[in-house]
Amino acid sequence: MSTAIDVQNVIKKYGQSTALQGVSLAIADNEFFTLLGPSGCGKTTLLRCIAGFEDVTAGEIHLFGQNIASLEPNLRPVNTVFQQYALFPHMTVLENVAFGLRMKRVPPEARRARAGKMLEMVHLSSFADRLPAQLSGGQQQRVALARALAPEPKVLLLDEPLSALDLKLRQAMRVELKQLQEDTGITFIFVTHDQEEALTMSDRIAVMSQGRVQQIGAAREIYEAPVNRFVADFIGETNLLEVQVERVLDGIAQVILPGGHRLTCPAAMMAAGPASGAGRHHLSIRPERLRLTPSGPLVAEVERIVYLGTDLHLLARLQDKTAVTVRIQNNTREGLPAPGTWVTLTPEDGAARLLAD
């Protein structure tokens, strides 16, 4: 599989502040790739650097082998779906969709046909002669998609395109977007702060924070094998326990849990090496992988039980006051401990994971 976009050591500075601190990542052709992170992490800046709306301070961006980092946006064969859609309000839906083709000097007949086909693809053929203002948010979103796909870009960039839609529509659009990506075979780079969106659609996800890529991997990989505290905490819910590390060898760590019990668990590998040997570090255990057991390595006092429908959350505190959450499936009608009682907890095999800071 060839590489569609190869970002190499991209640095972006705005005056004194640095938005991207040397980002490198390779996105394969045909991939649905997501840039995920909290606001201000640099994901949108990176997307805008690829589109050409921002100059990079240093580094290169290759599109199928060609360095495009210094090209004007109109000379880059990538198209963008904007967060606010940015449909041209004075043009009809059809004119909007045909705009890119018109700029590429596609003859009027051919571009009308192509734009009409794109509208058909997003189920908006009957809206071709309307103005964008006469469309609902979801319909505008589809027009924006059709407009960006019409000129057959090599890569489609999507800047939080679903964030303005309501929940039901957003969920429907996720499926549709993924379908569209598979049908067209175009590489999608999708920016979002919504982890659920990222996990459901992406082939691979790059988790970003503070201008750096923290981890790149498939949804399952970043959820089950986060490399550091940020990723573990940002993706899903987790319990972070501060532990004393005795030794780390070949990616297996021996740690002392709060309360004194020893535990052997996998340790996240950082580029710099294993989690720096002995010292105090954090252990991540997902709430759904902690069990209430008659005996176990962790002892906690139950504070309250939160009812969530399919699940229950048991909120408890260890002796050292660390809060822990245990997720229990809502199918046991008995045996739930009352608040104030002490319980023992056991992580499932392989559920605990030592993290880099």
Binding site: N74, A86, P89, A148
Partner: protein, 267 residues
């Protein structure tokens, strides 16, 4: 909170202001339909002074002056609007450049400088560089003082247009020029029209500067009216004034409507 209408004395104050501002205009407009030659005694309704404006002894003089006023207003409004569009794009889209605040002040300076000072300065300037005063000097002067009037609504409109539209156009393979002509300018159009109409009316109405730089034998409508009034106010002056008032009201209203339409189409 109570509305402003409930403040004591609001009604009296409002009526007082309206009377002071508009009573003289109302009198002029009413007496332009006066059948009598007197400007103080009502002699019944008549169109005779309007007929007099177009056919009377001064008709030729006023006709020439009106033609000058009209052509100067069209040319000055067109030129100043073009300059104002360029200035607005530079000021609003140009980012932070050195001297930005100073430039902004310079563009708007003609609004602050007393007209008589601009008038004297313009006359001195034209004399110094050796341009004979006449149609051309009036036009140049009008273009300069019309720029801020055209600039303000255009810049206001432009700053309300998000940059993302131009970016979308660039993203879809439009050059900078295409993004401007096909996307930005159409979106700016309500502001441009509003600015054009404002510049037009400012040029049409100007007296002080025009009077200084017009040179001998050259008249615009306001200077012609002034010249005529010096020999005593006749009712035909009231008829001309009323027609100018009507044109002004029409243009200001159009400018307002253009702005309102613009607000509705803003996305």
């Amino acid at each position: 909170m109570k509305g402003v209408r409930h403040y004591p004395g609001f009604l009296a104050l409002a009526v007082g202001c309206l009377v002071i501002l508009y009573a003289p205009l109302a009198v002029v407009a009413a007496y332009s339909f006066n059948d009598s030659a007197s400007i103080t005694q009502w002699g019944g309704f008549s169109w005779r002074w309007y007929v007099d404006v177009f056919t009377g002894p001064e008709a030729e003089r006023f006709g020439a002056a009106a033609w000058n006023s009209l052509t100067i207003a069209v040319l000055a409004a067109t030129a100043s609007t073009a300059i104002a569009v360029a200035a607005a794009v530079a000021m609003v889209r140009g980012g932070q450049f050195r001297g930005r605040t100073a430039t902004y002040a310079l563009i708007n300076l003609p609004l602050m400088v007393p007209e008589i000072v601009t008038a004297v300065a313009a006359l001195i300037f034209f004399t110094m560089v050796g341009i004979t005063t006449g149609y051309l000097t009036i036009l140049i002067a009008h273009i300069t003082f019309c720029i801020p009037f055209a600039f303000l609504p255009i810049a206001a409109r432009l700053s309300g247009i998000e940059e993302v539209y131009e970016q979308a156009a660039r993203d879809l393979y439009a050059t900078r020029a295409q993004a401007f002509w096909l996307i930005l300018l159409p979106l700016m159009m309500p502001g441009v029209i509003s600015g054009y109409l404002l510049a037009f009316i400012i040029s049409l109405d100007d007296f002080i500067i025009t009077n200084f730089v017009k040179g001998a034998g050259m008249e615009t409508l306001p200077t012609a009216i002034f010249g005529s009034v010096k020999q005593g106010i006749k009712p035909n002056i009231m008829a001309i004034s009323t027609m100018m008032l009507a044109v002004s009201v029409l243009f200001v209203t159009l400018s307002y409507i253009a702005n309102r339409i613009g607000q509705k189409t803003r996305t």
